[in-house]
Symmetry: C2
């Protein structure tokens, strides 16, 4: 039935009624050799770079080979506003992809994101889906994977080190010494400019010379001094560890730095602009160009200072070169998964990569399906997916699945606070009243949010063992009332089989005509765009700007970056900026604390109130439970 | 001729008289598929974990399989005191390994260290040997490799984050709250202790309970409060980037940390104790045990606080689990190389790993040779190799090769200062007077240093194109005078063929009876051991201790760690602690600024004067020259 020839074989799963822990399930299932999976889905040996025998990077050359292939259907999975426990969005993504193949016989691919090791060792313990809908082996998925996040960390921090070192050298050297060192004499006594230095001359409007000695004294100074205004630096260091003590730091306290102390911070690595660049780039060439354009600061004349000015474009690209290739893994049922790009859709763009989706859409062919996810609720991850990622890729989903759970709906209906390790009784016993209120507030609003983009909606009610049939059916009915299709799904306990009805509903909805449109026109001003998102997505009645935000909005508008789309940094725990406001709050004023910029990724970054870019460790992090048996190499505690 | 059956095939090298750049040579040579190389040297498919087709991790199970195999000969390559440009120690290691196979027909393996990306993007641009004696592909060798250093960074920083977070939680929580959170009630209402928490009770001498509720109020406090004295913390964060602004930092400036600011630093990742643990561990079990024993600080009662007390042993081991496996690559002539552990023998132990050497010794069999290297000069890298690594491994070299260059000898004879990018005329024209003075001072002393360990010495005069025959022969004669064998070697320009004479000399020397002995008895006091190294290796007349050093020496002696070997942190640029003192200085007093401890790795860490644990970027780092062609993926600027 497919235009592509897959020879994919489902892995037999011996399911137990009493579902074991995720790592138990993963451990009991033997994955296919990754080379075999690649063959089954039409990837050639020379297009595959195995990392061990359970994961492999895949080359982008497949895109060229499949140039004339029609795309499959594109399915986006989003969430309602979640509890801090998560509502099973990744699990649904995997379960649905499993069902589309195993139950309906369509080629299918899941595209998910590589988890950050910060939460893995802090609060979560793993993020490969769950139950009988997960990526295996889960420890390989959760630990290092194929090194993309580590490469981002290294590349991000090279640029950060280069910025501080350059400011130091400019501050401690006279013009001549600085110039002579930047363009040292070669053996023939000439001061040759490298290509990256020539590009800086071009941007400065200075006629490019081979030999820098030919530059006028004034031009030498302009060339040599980046003259960064330290207050405007937007490039932070990053680390893939939940380290709260790096949220605010002072660097330069060593004797050798001669008192050049500066306040700055570390962000979690997946929040690096380089992660967004990885996710949005169409090719290595596109990635290199975006890296060069990264704006790291503003100079004392008000002009942007770029990664290219700092001299790092090539080096950062070299460190990132393998990250552009998605990693192939498999589900517990042996269907293919691309793992690519990173999470944290609250403080980052947080969707899987454009190239992974494009590759998967070609590989499944026109009868196939690609299921991918956006982080957290539709208001943040979903909006960014559609307004940022789809603008970059030129793709748009055929259907959006929103994952709802009875427990999250009850919380939005007024249930007591939910915290990790503490689920109050109201959530474990039937309560139709709380549930209905949650449906009529948060679920309704998030469905409307999807409909504003002109896309068909399927509500997946992700079943938990404590949910009553009455409760589950109520959500289904409500979905129908909100002009969406509602389906109860049990993929956590039953894998693809449990998501058969969901797959069927998705297949039908995907064949409807969609009338996709963006939420806003990028050519509107930064403030206009912020207001559209605040009012249309979040339910705010207005927006207020801090003084800092007013300054940065003016700065980036003056620099000509006003027409970029927005990547809002907002809490994932409420439609508003206030994590305690559940349901669908209205009438509030959204505070914009500051605005940053990611020119390489291609967006403006407004911060809605206090929002942390570095997670912390609580008193008893989950690392207490993590261990390895040195003989068997079996890992415990990643659950 | 060998007890093992190798089917190793030499790769044909098309050498040019005018030697191209390292990356050119690497690029022109097509390496064998790594699976083929593995087969050729007796590694089975199931023992290999390929990372792409040019490098692979190798499983330690080979050690068991080859249990009855006799070891090959063990050759250590060390340096004289180098110029800042390096004297070709890695190049000699590779060239010698090539010659032993290609010219003399012996199975041979080189064991080298993974370079740090700090210098690669700062001053050096690559560290895979050079010319026709290098590891290929050099960009794969220099970039990320198989992720070991990244894993160390992640593991090291998890522990660092855990220490600061724990101190914060102890400072901001009352006894009961802290205890309740560390041992939360499970669903059955019990406060179950995890194994790592039970081990803490054992160390505290408290009877172990399943349910923590059974502990007395006093024991609960003792259990819950690590009570770290912040002034005694020895665990730094690390990063594999040359970032001078992280040499001294203050953490905890974020609002959420409520004023708990602390002065600390970042070290270069390869200086992490975890790198030394990787290098010295005999197995994953040994690694896990060493990780648990890491001492991160002292508590307010004077007792050591360990990684196990912080709760991180299992998690750190899980992050490190794949690092214990050496990475297999190949030389430009297709002979096998293990890349494992890290450099920086000035501030770290800095030798390749024990398991790589052990595996290689088994794989080559009794007719074979394993050539490995120690960092920088014999006084630091060599001394640590013999006194630390050989104590851990139980192995000792059959012969030591010391690499000398005419330029370094001239510098020690009184030549003008050598800096990167600036080699004064005296070094490019014959000057027998400077050369002889250098031989009679530094070379003589470093040869004597080797002889103090009872080992035969071969002096490899590493030929440069600017050296005259008279100069080269003088060094050779001097070697003979110092009771060593002298050989002129030209492996940089001619590969294995250029090192044939060296290989022959090594083979002969390796068959002599050696009378290996350690430099000191570990059971002597810390001060006695420091004084032996200072006087015997460095030529000092005495040692002086700062107040800080007196305090820490007393602390670690009181804690029972006085009988560990020493890992001296000292400049590599002089036999003394003063980098400007060339030749073989005597009569100086060695200052010990401070003493740290690495109980997991198993050594005491005295700091000799000012010594930087984090490199910096100069005004024009080599990243200016690094770039990648996005179409061909060819990298330039790693030279």
């Amino acid at each position: 039935m497919s235009s592509v020839k897959w020879t994919l074989k489902k892995l037999d799963v011996k399911r137990e009624a009493n579902v074991p822990s995720d790592i138990e399930i993963s451990r009991r299932q033997t994955p296919k050799p990754i080379t075999q999976l690649a063959k089954e889905i039409g990837i050639k040996d020379e297009e595959l770079e195995p990392y061990g025998d359970k994961k492999a990077k895949v080359q982008l050359s497949i895109l060229k080979r499949y140039n004339n292939q029609e795309n499959g259907k594109y399915v986006l999975v989003v969430g309602m506003t979640p509890t801090p426990l998560g509502e099973g969005k990744s699990t649904t993504t995997i379960g649905l992809a499993q069902a589309l193949f195993s139950e309906l016989g369509h080629p299918s691919f899941a595209c998910v994101r590589q988890p950050s090791q910060g939460p893995t060792f802090g609060i979560k313990g793993g993020a490969a889906g769950g139950g009988y809908s997960q990526v295996i082996p889960m420890e390989e998925f959760n630990l290092h994977l194929t090194g993309d996040i580590h490469a981002i960390t290294a590349a991000n921090n090279l640029l950060a080190a280069a910025i501080d070192a350059r400011m130091f050298h400019e501050a401690t050297q006279k013009d001549d010494a600085l110039f002579d060192r930047l363009v040292p004499k070669n053996k023939e006594g000439k001061r040759l400019l490298t290509p990256i230095q020539q590009r800086r001359l071009q941007r400065l409007g200075i006629a490019v010379q081979d030999d820098a000695e030919k530059l006028s004294p004034e031009d030498r100074v302009r060339f040599a001094r980046l003259d960064i205004d330290p207050k405007t630096i937007t490039w932070s260091r990053v680390i893939d560890t939940s380290d709260r003590f790096l949220r605010g730091i002072e660097v330069g306290h060593g004797n050798t730095e001669k008192g050049h102390v500066r306040k700055t911070d570390f962000k979690i690595s997946v929040g690096s602009e380089l992660m967004a660049i990885l996710a949005l780039s169409l090719s290595l060439a596109d990635m290199r160009e975006r890296i060069g354009k990264i704006v790291v600061a503003t100079d004392n004349k008000g002009q942007p200072v770029t990664c290219d000015d700092v001299g790092c474009t090539g080096a950062v690209t070299v460190l990132m070169k393998d990250t552009i290739k998605p990693t192939l893994m498999q589900t517990v049922e042996g269907t293919p998964v691309f793992v690519h790009a990173g999470p944290f859709a609250n403080i980052a763009h947080g969707a899987s990569s454009v190239v992974a989706d494009k590759l998967a859409l070609k590989l499944v062919g026109k009868e196939g399906f690609v299921v991918t996810e956006a982080g957290f609720g539709m208001d943040i991850g979903g909006e960014k997916f559609l307004d940022i990622k789809c603008r970059s890729s030129g793709l748009s989903p055929n259907v959006v699945v929103i994952v709802a759970t009875v427990r999250a709906l009850k919380m939005h209906g007024g249930g007591p606070p939910v915290t990790p390790g503490n689920l109050p009784a109201a959530y474990r016993t039937p309560n139709l009243e709380l549930l209905e209120k949650g449906c009529d507030s948060n679920l309704k609003k998030q469905i409307e949010n999807i409909q504003k983009f002109g896309l068909p909606v399927v509500v997946c009610v992700n079943k938990f063992s404590t949910d009553s049939d009455e409760e589950l059916n109520l959500v289904k009915e409500k979905a129908h009332k909100f002009n969406a299709v509602g389906v109860i799904s049990n993929h956590w306990a039953k894998g693809g089989e449990g998501a058969k009805e969901l797959a069927q509903a998705v297949k039908e909805a995907a064949n409807k005509k969609s009338e996709f449109k963006f939420l806003y026109d990028v050519n509107k001003s930064i403030k206009e765009k912020i207001e559209i998102i605040a009012k249309e997505m979040y339910g705010a009645s207005g927006v207020e700007y801090s003084e800092a935000a007013e300054t940065t909005i003016k700065r980036y508008t003056d620099q000509g970056f006003g027409n970029l789309p927005l990547c809002m940094a907002k809490t994932q725990l409420s439609l508003s900026h206030d994590p305690t406001k559940k349901g669908a709050p209205t009438g509030f004023t959204l505070p914009i604390r500051d605005v940053s910029i990611s020119v390489g990724a291609g967006f403006i970054f407004p911060f809605c109130g206090e929002i942390m870019t570095m997670p912390g460790l609580n008193t008893r992090p989950c690392f207490y439970d993590i261990d390895i048996d040195p003989e068997t190499e079996i890992i415990d505690g990643l659950f």
